[in-house]
Symmetry: C3
Amino acid sequence: MKQFTSINDVPDLKALIALARTGKANPQLHASLGEGKAVCLLFLNPSLRTRLSTQRAAAHLGLTCMVMDVGRDGWQLEFSDGVIMNGNKAEHVREAAQVVSQYCDVIGLRTFSALKDRDEDYSEPVLSAFVKYASVPVLSLESAIRHPLQSLTDLITIEEHVKVAKPKIVLSWAPHPRALPQAVANSFAEWTRAAGHEITIACPQGFELSDAFSNGHIVTHDQDAALAGADVVYTKNWSSFKDYGAIGEGLDDWQITADKMALTKEAKFMHCLPVRRNVVVSDAVIDSANSLVFAQADNRTWAAKSVLQMLLHD
Amino acid sequence: MKQFTSINDVPDLKALIALARTGKANPQLHASLGEGKAVCLLFLNPSLRTRLSTQRAAAHLGLTCMVMDVGRDGWQLEFSDGVIMNGNKAEHVREAAQVVSQYCDVIGLRTFSALKDRDEDYSEPVLSAFVKYASVPVLSLESAIRHPLQSLTDLITIEEHVKVAKPKIVLSWAPHPRALPQAVANSFAEWTRAAGHEITIACPQGFELSDAFSNGHIVTHDQDAALAGADVVYTKNWSSFKDYGAIGEGLDDWQITADKMALTKEAKFMHCLPVRRNVVVSDAVIDSANSLVFAQADNRTWAAKSVLQMLLHD
Amino acid sequence: MKQFTSINDVPDLKALIALARTGKANPQLHASLGEGKAVCLLFLNPSLRTRLSTQRAAAHLGLTCMVMDVGRDGWQLEFSDGVIMNGNKAEHVREAAQVVSQYCDVIGLRTFSALKDRDEDYSEPVLSAFVKYASVPVLSLESAIRHPLQSLTDLITIEEHVKVAKPKIVLSWAPHPRALPQAVANSFAEWTRAAGHEITIACPQGFELSDAFSNGHIVTHDQDAALAGADVVYTKNWSSFKDYGAIGEGLDDWQITADKMALTKEAKFMHCLPVRRNVVVSDAVIDSANSLVFAQADNRTWAAKSVLQMLLHD
């Protein structure tokens, strides 16, 4: 793999999932694959799971891992070309991306959407600048509109825990007090499609994902109908794509509760975390035996390990 | 050891001190004990000695060490159960503790007391939540009311440097411009008691430690009488337990000076650092040949190494 | 080497450059030289290149690397002697430097000039305090008035890319919207002098470096004359030494542009980065084939590796 920024970078999804599961079954299998090499994780936004699981994955491969909070530890970056840099940005991404490339073999990058200008966010200004100027593979640790490591994790978890042949998978929008990116939902839609699933996306009017991501799936505004007979309920908040960044009002009843789970076929419950309890999902559901949230979090390590292996091999 | 949060977690104090001293004498002895394993150090409050000495201890064991400033690098944590999380806390400790457990074999945790609500602080809300929800051993890097790694260090240092059979050990309260936790003093009291020492705690009226900690020791408000004939003077500020968090006024003469040390039996001087010179202790005393502050700081590495060994073995 | 703070600490510059180039040619040559040892990088100011390249250099030597942002992760430090520490500084450098020395074999330290009091900056208050109180070698990661790792990198880069026997090297002052230290320019002057180069320093009136650094070189206020026939153009902003910390006005035409480079003998272009494009240098020049900025950045790793090797050997 030349980079890992979306499902489009994955030549063989089944093989990647298999590699991750092998790595999980045998943590010490490739313990010296990364010897003498390094990955640099650049954070422009906060992270807990991604930060720690990717560090651990690197350690499992004997790979040196350097973690840096760009902007706080270093300098504010400029992303526009041709500008006179006399403001508060001390370094251009052209230099930053190329320079960091010289200190490592893979660059991991986390950046969120600003949720102000939709076209700008959907052009992935930060990630694509790093991809353009870096001379080593770029590993997305979540970008403005995608979170591919999370989706790989989610597919591994579904393969491990959902034994139905053609499971009904529901991606259900959830309420949230703050505006969040569409990244996790977008990626879940494109990765499940690539895995051959037609999922049901349930969301309030105005919270439909971009067609580019929901394409090939069922979109409904009737949450109860969506949940009926579901084998997997993946809930997640995202702000509006249409009325870009809006969070809506009076949508609290989209929370996943025990009553709603009762509509399903004893569905597994999934969420990428961090999650706001009793806003997104009730205590009863997330604490139930059917909750896969910790299985998902655990698989972050093995997803990252498999992707690092693929990036180092190329 | 299942966890390391107080003296009560230590099955055999003498054996632990001996293990630390062996590790110090032979830094390379267990250089591959931690191979393939990881410790994650979570900081909710600042640290210099603990941060660096625990990292170094991990390195001596071949253990991967991941350091994270929770709250700054990640998310604000919620510790109350059953709440509707629609405020500024993005993740519940139930998820955070369990998730981090999946990325490492030991969780180190530093958290200070807020010094507002005594009952809350003394219930150790943060540490006990991590202990409750983590699925790997928790290593206290200082909690609201205890600092066990420091006390282990202090006992190692006393064993190395104080050759009197039954030394007179004085814990002497010190002035300080800001309100500090009782953690170091509390722990020193319970660890010295466990080691068979009856110490003398000298403090102004109103600065007595909680009975649970001072129990079995001598408490006095007469500093000079306490210092008379002392073999060890451990000085440390703590804010009031009674008038919770108060720092007092007009207590500057509790500073340890050369005149006060002259009352002792050429006592060793101890402090856990960081220390405010000429407030807590005069330059002459801390810079004297009898000062053990660097010996204490050095032993932090070997204390942490021995505790990590014990936690990894279980 | 007992320390690495300026050219004066280098017993044999040619040998050091040769060591760096050998390390670059054979990255795995000394992969276990640092085994069981550790370097601690303390940052009092931001860093990207130095932070990452020194971490990577340590990894190439099998050396444990601990990175800490003093002041943010730990405590504010006091540098004055004899003061009553009842303000906002919680720890004296006497303790901090000695304590950190106990957790590692080399202390790396980055600190910038405050650009307020020239005499204070030029006395190197922070670096010299660490040198004084540390019990292990101190490695400057840039100090108030010098950046020796950068200068070593620059000399390696010149040796690799400039094949003229006696090259004309021009250090040309550049405009900048904020006041920057003289550190890079000062060091470049003293390291090139030690390497046997008489360089030409071109700067506006009032921006002359301290005589101690410019001594032995040609100083001119005529940029065009300086550039004429140049083989190397090193551009860098620095604030005034004379009118200490002043940035000047109406000096925008000191920017290095293609027109100015046309005056040279197809000179190589150098800058230490980060650089403000179209303020310090035009896009056309930094993006040209003659630009060595990435070669310089790359050599930071090999410079750091060679210096760490020298410091560990002593």
